[in-house]
């Protein structure tokens, strides 16, 4: 249970780490769009998008392994979509056929491209969370969503809820671990029995967890009150977000990538 870490921030200082969180969020979205823009079977377009992610990884000083590891979580999804393409795409020339299974060259190629596409998208977003602390991320989202204030959407509160939730995930994990151990010491058994029995066995964990979450929420509210928290009005930031030359370079490179991809699509 201890190994579960949410928010996989990799702590170092680098070009990418120092970029503005808002810009990074926007660029990540733009990168996803760019990856989707690449027409199918355009090898050079994919190469360009791939090179971009490799170069960004190098500039971020995050080990390539950590970025790749992020794919692990959706490995099943990747394999599933690849298999779907391989077995059910009937276009193109048949390269293998056995009873009702036919595999075509187009199907294989398409599976390859889909795998690449998903992997690049996941790696791109992983790079965002690897180089941006959860707090920066929440601040960035708050700032990006601020136009919604016009329609009375509580942007600040939304961002606050998000950062509190992120902050308390490790705490609750620890708490869960402790309660599980305490109930196990009293002979609780979570591993045997049918589904209903196992679901029932969760009650002695969930109730104390729920109770302590309310207690923590209450205490946190009191602590915030004691420090005169009064919402977003007149609130200043400890860390001002500022656009620097790094963000402009990042923006230009990604714009170049998109132009390049569109150009290659036309060829």
């Amino acid at each position: 249970m201890k190994d579960v870490s949410f928010g996989q921030y990799y702590n170092t200082t680098s070009f990418v780490h120092k970029m503005d969180a808002r810009v990074k969020i926007l660029l990540s979205i733009a990168y996803i769009v760019a990856v989707f823009l690449v027409k199918e079977f355009h090898f050079y377009g994919f190469l360009a998008a791939f090179l971009f992610i490799v170069l960004t990884t190098i500039f971020s000083k995050v080990p390539f392994f950590s970025v790749l590891r992020s794919v692990k979580g959706i490995l099943f999804f990747v394999i599933f979509s690849a298999v779907l393409q391989i077995f059910f795409n009937t276009a193109g020339e048949v390269v293998f056929s056995w009873k009702f299974i036919t595999i075509t060259d187009k199907g294989l190629l398409k599976a390859g491209f889909i795998v690449c596409r998903i992997m690049m998208i996941v790696m791109g977003t992983a790079l965002l969370t690897l180089t941006t602390t959860p707090v920066e991320l929440a601040d960035g989202i708050e700032s990006l969503l601020s136009p919604l204030k016009l329609i009375k959407f509580p942007v600040h509160e939304f961002a606050l809820i998000m950062s509190i939730a992120l902050r308390f995930i490790p705490t609750l994990m620890e708490e869960t671990d402790r309660i599980i151990k305490a109930q196990k010491a009293r002979g609780a058994d979570f591993e045997s029995g049918n589904l209903i029995k196992r679901a029932k066995a969760m009650i002695p964990i969930l109730i104390p967890l729920l109770v302590s979450s309310f207690r923590r929420a209450d205490e946190l509210a009191d602590a915030m009150d004691a420090r005169c928290y009064s919402g977003s009005k007149g609130r200043t930031k400890y860390k001002k977000q500022r656009i620097t030359y790094r963000d402009i370079i990042g923006f230009l490179v990604l714009a170049g990538l998109i132009v390049g991809i569109v150009f290659l699509n036309g060829v």
Binding site: I179, K181, A185, R186, P204, P208
Partner: protein
């Protein structure tokens, strides 16, 4: 039940922090064993090994009575009914609708008893921790005061009549009176069905007053162990490993500097007795 542990090492994950390093310790039956050390010295991790909640990374021998915890076929359920474990802030593990059900939880897990037997044992457990069974049995555990909650939680562990009782900082967060009551409860338990008590504590005064033996943990290793008076007497530089002498230890040292040497096992009663004796001799 004698507890024997030889060369136990525990690390989080494959390359993680080593919480316990090459630890060897024997705890005899009948002991009131104190484990002290600063936060993060591996005390809590160590005690969780004793009922199989945590499995050692490497270990040469780990036995509790007839149970061999390194054996894959070890019957953990039976072991856990013999070894009661009270975690830090045990009141946070309460969950049932009534005090009765919460206390009976462990009993129902370990053995299938008749309704009457269950009732009898729950009643005993609640009375042992000094609460009024009839008054409290149908209350919600969340409606009780902090001290009562802790007692109920401890009753939930005692209900199976464990031979060994392990407590992790049982007195933390209690006022001085609650602390005294808790410790006298432990003593009376020690005289009845609980044969061995292992208590993790920060408080040197408590340990000196109550424990028959003590082990000092430092960075996952045993820094020193033995009878409390021996451990504290001899030890210089306790502060360096984040601990303090008991108050009587400091007093003894101060008096020694003034040329008064007092032989004592550092419990308050004994210290005062010997001090008075010395004073009478002097005058």
């Amino acid at each position: 039940m004698q507890i024997v542990c030889k060369n136990l090492t525990f690390a989080y994950g494959k390359r993680g922090v080593t919480a316990v390093k090459n630890l060897s310790l024997t705890i005899d039956e009948g002991e009131f064993f104190g484990i002290i050390g600063e936060t993060g010295s591996g005390k809590s991790t160590f005690i969780q090994h004793l009922n199989g909640l945590v499995k050692p990374t490497t270990c040469d021998e780990l036995t509790v009575g007839e149970f061999n915890l390194l054996d894959k076929k070890c019957d953990y359920k039976k072991l856990r009914s013999k070894i009661g474990m009270v975690f830090q802030y045990p009141e946070y593990q309460l969950f049932a609708e009534t005090v009765f059900e919460d206390v009976a939880f462990g009993l129902k897990n370990f053995a299938s008893l008749t309704k009457e037997e269950t009732e009898k044992m729950v009643k005993e457990a609640i009375e042992v921790v000094g609460l009024d069974y009839e008054k409290i049995k149908n209350k919600s555990p969340f409606d009780l005061s902090g001290g009562q909650k802790r007692r109920v939680a401890i009753a939930g562990v005692l209900v199976t009549k464990p031979e060994v009782l392990i407590l992790d900082e049982p007195a933390s967060g209690l006022d001085p009176e609650g602390k005294e009551q808790l410790l006298s409860l432990l003593h009376s338990l020690h005289k009845s069905f609980v044969k061995t008590i292992i208590m993790v504590s920060h408080d040197m005064n408590t340990v000196v007053e109550h424990c028959t033996k003590v082990a000092l943990f430092n960075k996952g290793e045993i820094y020193c162990s033995g009878r409390p008076s021996e451990v504290f007497f001899k030890l210089e530089g306790l502060e360096e490993i984040g601990l303090e002498q008991p108050l009587t230890g400091y007093l003894k040292k101060e008096l020694e500097l003034k040329g008064v040497n007092i032989e004592s096992d550092l419990t308050v009663d004994d210290f005062v007795y010997n001090l008075v004796k010395k004073l009478k001799q002097g005058s």
